[in-house]
Symmetry: C2
Subunit: 330 residues, 2 copies
């Protein structure tokens, strides 16, 4: 039994799952929750419903801020269930002394992303707490989306299907780390944070059967693939060489002692489709990001596991990330 909650319990990986299962699922138990998708499917499959709290530090970083992150994060979770983001709530907890000018900058970022998604904020809550009770500002966004593509599920992967990544990975994690540590590696590295609905809409409209879809946030690509392998009881074989990683991200990974596949993303998703749809899917994804690739295939070799075929010709299991990854990444 977990006695004390540690930073590892918020890592999006193994310990995080353990806390969720042993405390929250145990008591809140119900059929919808136990599906553990990015968003709950409610109202006879018509609506998707999801929540996220954002605690990122620093609040402003290359390519985004906590406001952009909050709208993208929640709208992307809806998009990942094939839903069009529609209504959001916005709840902020502010430390006294926070500058209104900064708050307004954050709210403007939110509005900009809302417009990209065609969503609106319909309800909110504002709390101000004494100095020291919160580090500057936290935002919760919870959203409702209208499902446009039904049946997307982490449990639907089958042998011989293909898995694609929508762009090069790890830039959000690398950007936040570099910003926090004052590392000036490059002038071009910035978070991938983006609203994914427009890109998903293109996939939906193309008529491709989207089997599974998930943005690789906390826990990165590893966490998504492990969850899919487990939920669908299949083996996912990933080719290390095919994983797109920028040079700057590789450099930061070496400094951190992290693997890019474990780094958080905020605008990068994985897509599972039938083998015959992979080329068409890749073509659509590459219209948005040239770095999109087919990175893995579904087999029946080691059920529930992710097998990494390394560039050196060796094979190893890619496990769910564990330990204290970067805290306050989102």
């Amino acid at each position: 039994m977990i006695k004390t909650i540690t930073l590892a319990h918020g890592n999006g990986g193994a310990e995080n799952n353990e806390l969720i299962e042993k405390v929250f699922y145990k008591h809140f138990k119900n059929d919808i929750l136990s599906k553990s998708e990015d968003a709950a499917v409610i109202e006879e499959g018509k609506l998707a419903f999801t929540t996220d709290s954002f605690t990122v530090s620093p609040l402003f970083f290359p390519g985004g801020d906590i406001g952009k992150l909050a709208i993208c994060g929640t709208c992307n979770d809806l998009s990942m269930m094939g839903a069009k983001p529609k209504y959001l709530t916005c709840s902020v907890i502010i430390e006294e002394g926070f500058l209104t000018r900064e708050l307004e900058k954050i709210v403007k970022s939110m509005k900009k992303e809302l417009d990209i998604n065609g969503a609106i904020v319909v309800s909110g809550d504002t709390k101000v707490v004494p100095k020291g009770s919160v580090d500057k500002l936290f935002i919760n966004t919870t959203g409702i989306g209208e499902i446009e593509h039904k049946g997307i599920s982490a449990s639907a992967l089958k042998e011989e299907m293909s898995i694609l990544v929508s762009r090069d990975i790890g830039t959000h994690g690398a950007t936040i780390f570099a910003e926090r540590e004052g590392i000036k590696l490059t002038s071009t590295l910035q978070t991938d944070c983006a609203s994914l609905y427009p890109e998903i809409k293109k996939l939906v409209d193309s008529g491709i059967n989207i089997v599974a879809l998930r943005d690789a946030t906390r826990g990165g690509v590893s966490a998504v693939l492990n969850e899919w392998a487990k939920s669908s009881d299949v083996c996912i074989e990933i080719e290390e060489e095919s994983i797109p990683v920028r040079e700057e991200v590789r450099g930061i990974c070496e400094m951190l002692g992290f693997e890019a596949v474990n780094l958080a993303n905020e605008g990068t998703f994985l897509l599972a489709v039938a083998k015959e749809d992979e080329e068409k899917a890749l073509e659509i994804l590459q219209e948005t990001h040239k770095t999109s690739r087919i990175i893995a295939s579904v087999t029946n070799q080691y059920k529930g596991k992710v097998l990494l075929n390394s560039s050196w010709g060796t094979k190893r299991f890619l496990d769910l990330p564990t330990g204290e990854l970067l805290p306050r990444i989102c």
Copy 2:
């Protein structure tokens, strides 16, 4: 223009409204949000949608804890729009080092209140942040309810209507204050925190036309009456003598220099009905709380204002509370 955000901007009163209007409403502007009801009405009037973040300190207090508060708070906001609480999300931000035993106690309290409302948690988020980034634990709950009684609105009050309060007021604010300051005034004083759906359901089923309904949380009874007077452009005349306040709460008010009508409640609501429905409504409310009273009537004397007829025979305006009320009350 507000330069810096102060504790007063989270008081549920005048400064809070100013911040919301000048920063959030200004940028998020839309027809649903600008109604500024307890919950947004969406999907052609079928669903209600609302959010609340809870930062109360201490986490455990006589009669409740942050978990009970989080479910009651959000379910009550739905009930206040005539909706049956149905689906909730639960997002927690935990400080590293928090004890799992305490978290589980909180989650159990949540489950108990969920059952009273017949609601379930369908989606969640768990963040763990380093020591000093948050004071112990914050919870956001966001809920969807199915509207059972349409047309409840803060803008629907008309001359000659009556306003009732569901029970004696101010116990939540008084309890939190006493607990925080280590005051042991009495062994019986505890928060009013409660799920109001069962009581509202009785009102709905009775066939009474519920004109307006709102729980008197931050900013207390004063904030609700002022909002109603303004939204409906009417005068609300309240009889000081008729306001039910317990002796212990009166005592704490004297110590605080507060008025009971400004103290926060978490299970006390105001109800506006036509004059001819007031006796029937009172009878129903008194089945739950003997202390329920008819406290005010709607007139056209000073439009947009709340007029208090004091026990001494004098009259004064009861304004929206201002300044730093008790922070972290909910």
